[in-house]
Amino acid sequence: SQKIEQNSEALNIQEGKTATLTCNYTNYSPAYLQWYRQDPGRGPVFLLLIRENEKEKRKERLKVTFDTTLKQSLFHITASQPADSATYLCALDPSAGGGNKLTFGTGTQLKVEL
């Protein structure tokens, strides 16, 4: 069966450290993968998109990698701040270019402590 797995346990890290979140998928061959941030009581907000032919994508303190052989994406936040505390969702289009109908992982909650 097709699955997208993210760590269900919350990730607690100290301010200033690098947070690394994992997204693994099975039985998909996505053309791209997206990462979203969700705060409590709010809708998800888009952060980054990485294509299958891109190994790495950066945006300010954020970095995403995409390994199609391992079927894994890693999401890094460097110099983390308490304001980065949120749930982070990965999503992919299982139809390989079929129009942006996304399948989401369940998300990983990140807590950045002072």
Binding site: Q34, G41, G43, D93, G99, F104
Partner: protein
């Protein structure tokens, strides 16, 4: 203010009642989507529309219907609500086609008793 609005913010509904969740966007996006979010299951696609006048089924469409009479509005209807439809519902929109970010509304929290 550009973006997506949803109404109502929250609703408690008796089982068997009909309910329409409203979604409006002013970004002129062709594509719109409805998701439900449940603890432990994440966001799941209910229905989508690639352009006005067309709709399609997502992963969990049973018990829900949608219409897309124009570009801006994409209402979701529960014809006869059941307790398993208790969830948080999110509407989203995007430019049509792949490789495009989705913009989400603030959500509607629905409780069916």
């Amino acid at each position: 203010i550009a973006g997506i609005t949803q109404a109502p913010t929250s609703q408690i509904l008796a089982a068997g009642r009909r309910m329409t969740l409203r979604c409006t966007q002013d970004m002129r996006h062709n594509a719109m989507y409805w998701y439900r979010q449940d603890l432990g299951l994440g966001l799941r696609l209910i229905h989508y529309s690639n352009t006005a006048g067309t709709t399609g089924k997502g992963e969990v469409p049973d018990g829900y219907s949608v219409s897309r009479a124009n570009t801006d509005d994409f209402p979701l209807t529960l014809a006869s609500a059941v307790p398993s439809q208790t969830s948080v519902y999110f509407c989203a929109s995007s430019v049509e086609g792949s490789y495009n970010e989705q913009f989400f509304g603030p959500g509607t929290r629905l409780t069916v008793l």
